[in-house]
């Protein structure tokens, strides 16, 4: 009992008592993946810190590396250890091999360092978002990934601002001739997400006509009216403001008939919920990936808000699925080989 209290007090001993409730294979895998990717970011970040003499970049990389060392690695390690899995050894720090700036013989320019770090932080951001989408056993585990995702987004934002200030990046050419116009990548990801929202609306409206379950209808209605439609409108407005003609919306097929069937073909509630959960995981992945192509502040803010709306929706879906046993959760696994 004392040990448990001690574990809760000490900052390095983060635990969610996963030994009592085994995690599923996806949760273990994403914890491992997030942990090993964190080690890689530290390795590369420290090597680059030794490769530049620029004090601003030293400070920036040091902050990034320390954030990963203090806020990511201990949490992830402890969750895996608590579940009975050994964790990989921590690599030795590169900063003891000399003073910052010592590694100057094979030169990387500071801009190149920033470009590589931006790509690596994007890959970490995508991994964290996948972790959020996968964690279904325990809300606290999803909470850990959400927390990590928020911090990675902050780091990615900071790299974006810092690198853009030094013109380190080469964004795709502007999509239109007007000053401050969106670049090709920004237009593409907005258009892509708009198309995805159209499919979401078609599916949700069909499924709403297919179920009589009040709780499921509430969740589907939330997805339709609080997520899909508002996001579609924001995407349309942003594209229209930039001078693009947006595609026509799908026709509405709500209230065509008494609730309870889609045509005459019936889907079970668990089938509907599984499809909607997968679609929400895909949408989250889509939003997270798109942050890598977006340089303009207002569009980044828009997509970030989509990410957190999607996470909130996923929480609602998983809560209902767990309560009613409607989900097909990946198998629980243990380290007992």
């Amino acid at each position: 009992m004392n040990l448990k209290i001690l574990k809760k007090i000490l900052p390095q001993s983060y635990t969610l008592n996963t030994a009592q409730k085994p995690m599923h294979a996806g949760e273990i895998y994403h914890l491992w993946d997030a942990l090993t990717a964190s080690h890689q970011i530290v390795n590369v970040g420290e090597t680059y810190q030794m490769n530049t003499q620029d004090k601003e970049i030293h400070l920036f990389l040091k902050g990034l590396v320390e954030g990963v060392l203090l806020l990511r690695i201990p949490k992830l390690e402890n969750l895996l250890k608590d579940a009975g899995f050994p964790v990989p050894p921590r690599p030795a720090t590169k900063t003891l091999q000399g003073k910052p700036g010592v590694g100057q013989e094979v030169k990387l320019s500071d801009e190149e360092v920033l470009k590589v770090m931006l790509t690596l932080s994007l890959s970490l951001l995508i991994l964290d978002a996948r972790g959020v989408g996968t964690a279904t056993t325990n809300e606290d585990i999803r909470g850990v990934f959400v927390d990590l995702l928020k911090k990675t987004i902050l780091a990615h934002d900071a790299l974006m601002v810092f690198g853009s200030g030094r013109q380190a990046f080469t964004p795709a050419p502007p999509a239109t001739a007007s000053p401050g116009a969106l670049n090709l990548g920004e237009v593409y990801v907005l258009w892509d997400q708009l198309g995805y929202r159209h499919s979401t609306i078609v599916l949700l409206e069909t499924y709403l006509n297919n179920t009589k379950d009040v709780d499921l209808k509430t969740v589907l209605n939330y997805g339709l009216n609080k997520i899909a439609f508002p996001q579609m409108e924001k995407l349309e407005m942003t594209l229209k403001n930039e001078g693009f003609t947006v595609p026509t919306r799908p026709v509405s097929r709500m209230k065509q008939q008494p609730a309870g069937r889609t045509g005459k073909i019936i889907l079970r509630d668990s089938e509907i919920l599984s499809i909607v959960i997968t679609a929400t995981q895909v949408a989250l992945d889509l939003h997270a990936n798109s942050l890598g192509s977006i340089y303009r502040g207002d569009v980044r803010e828009l997509v970030k808000s989509f990410i957190f709306e999607e996470i909130e929706y996923l929480t609602k879906l998983v809560t209902l699925g767990n309560k009613r046993n409607l989900m097909e959760i990946p198998p629980n696994v243990t380290a007992k080989v």
Binding site: T36, I265, E328, P331
Partner: protein, 339 residues
């Protein structure tokens, strides 16, 4: 013994003897994910099949569901069961609820169905790609996912073919005034691929080749640099230039600056180098797959498809070396045993 032989002969009892060699958590997860996504896809597709009266649509949907039923589900189920895991129940077919076309009270247009199918098949291809990048325990498991990926690509192309012939897709405007030029989406993906090579792959590979004395690791890194990164970079640069885009100058090359073995004075271990390169390869495979599944133009899709196959080949080489030399940090092996 006889039971084992029987299992090998019967088509629905696909096995790779995973009971003898436990898989890691990522492999179990991706097998499960791929299996449940297959069930979900069948549910959606069969509902759509009942929703349309068009014979070509019936054919397209039936081909897709038949390939999932015969090629994907039994193999994925067999592997999970062999490893001691219980698989989810198969869902009942929707096609027994009436004749195709019966479910037309809440009408979906065929174009809407095609668009949704396009999104669903893209999602499945993405899942397969992630699985390929994850599998490390046995090559035969990776080969299974590669076969599934190829099959899904065929279905995806069939959806694009029928969708284009019916003008079902609303494509982005053209990026240039040339009528056969790339759309904004195509131009973005070509640019994005070019930037990834320039700003990450080539820089990392060149730095790491200077960082190691290990001949085999150098050989693999050089393969990545000279047989994949540079040729693919040239390909996308030429395609962009042919479409009328000015491409920015390439980054400086830092090869042969000094005797190999050190990056500056800061050394990374070979295992650290291998792991960073593997993560970068997984990320790159994900990029190629997203580019492939996003474009409607055959010419560009072929380019991205060849990049996908080359990257898979590179991942195989990296994992081959990583395993023989114990350079990789593989996810923990897991079982269904409790208590």
């Amino acid at each position: 013994m006889q039971f084992k032989i029987l299992k090998k002969i019967l088509p629905s009892s696909y096995t790779l003897n995973t009971a003898q060699k436990p898989m890691h958590s990522g492999e179990i997860y991706h097998l499960w994910e791929s299996l449940t996504a297959s069930h979900q896809l069948i549910n959606s597709l069969e509902t759509f099949q009942m929703n349309t009266d068009d014979k070509n649509m019936h054919q397209l949907i039936q081909d897709f569901t038949a390939s999932i039923r015969k090629q994907r589900i039994p193999k994925l189920e067999g592997l999970l069961k062999d490893a001691g895991f219980t698989v989810p129940p198969r869902t009942a077919t929707k096609t027994l609820q009436g004749k195709p076309g019966v479910g037309t009270e809440v009408i979906l247009s065929d174009e809407e169905i095609i668009k949704v199918m396009f999104n669903l098949s893209s999602a499945l291809i993405n899942l397969d790609g992630r699985a390929i990048g994850t599998v490390t325990t046995k090559e035969s498991i990776r080969d299974l996912f590669i076969t599934l990926l190829k099959q899904d690509m065929k279905e995806h192309e069939a959806i694009i073919f029928i969708g284009k012939s019916r003008q079902a897709f609303i494509q982005l405007p053209l990026a240039v005034s040339e009528p056969n030029g790339p759309t904004i989406g195509d131009a973005y993906w070509l640019w994005s691929e070019m930037e990834f090579y320039r700003s990450s792959s080539i820089i990392l590979l060149e730095s790491y080749i200077s960082n190691t004395n290990d001949k085999e690791l150098k050989k693999i890194l050089e393969h990545g640099l000279y047989k994949i990164a540079y040729p693919q970079l040239s390909k996308v640069e030429q395609t962009l230039k042919a479409a009328g885009f000015t491409v920015p100058p390439r980054p400086v090359t830092r090869m042969h600056q000094r005797p190999p073995g050190v990056i500056g004075q800061i050394t990374l271990s070979d295992s650290e180098v291998t792991n960073v390169i593997i993560t970068a390869s997984q990320f790159l495979l994900n990029q190629h797959i997203r580019a492939y599944s996003a474009t409607f133009k055959d010419e560009y899709r072929l380019i991205f498809k060849s990049f996908i196959m080359e990257e898979i080949d590179n991942i195989k080489r990296l994992y081959g070396l990583g395993k023989t030399r114990n350079l990789m940090l593989t996810p923990p092996q897991v079982t269904s045993k409790k208590g």
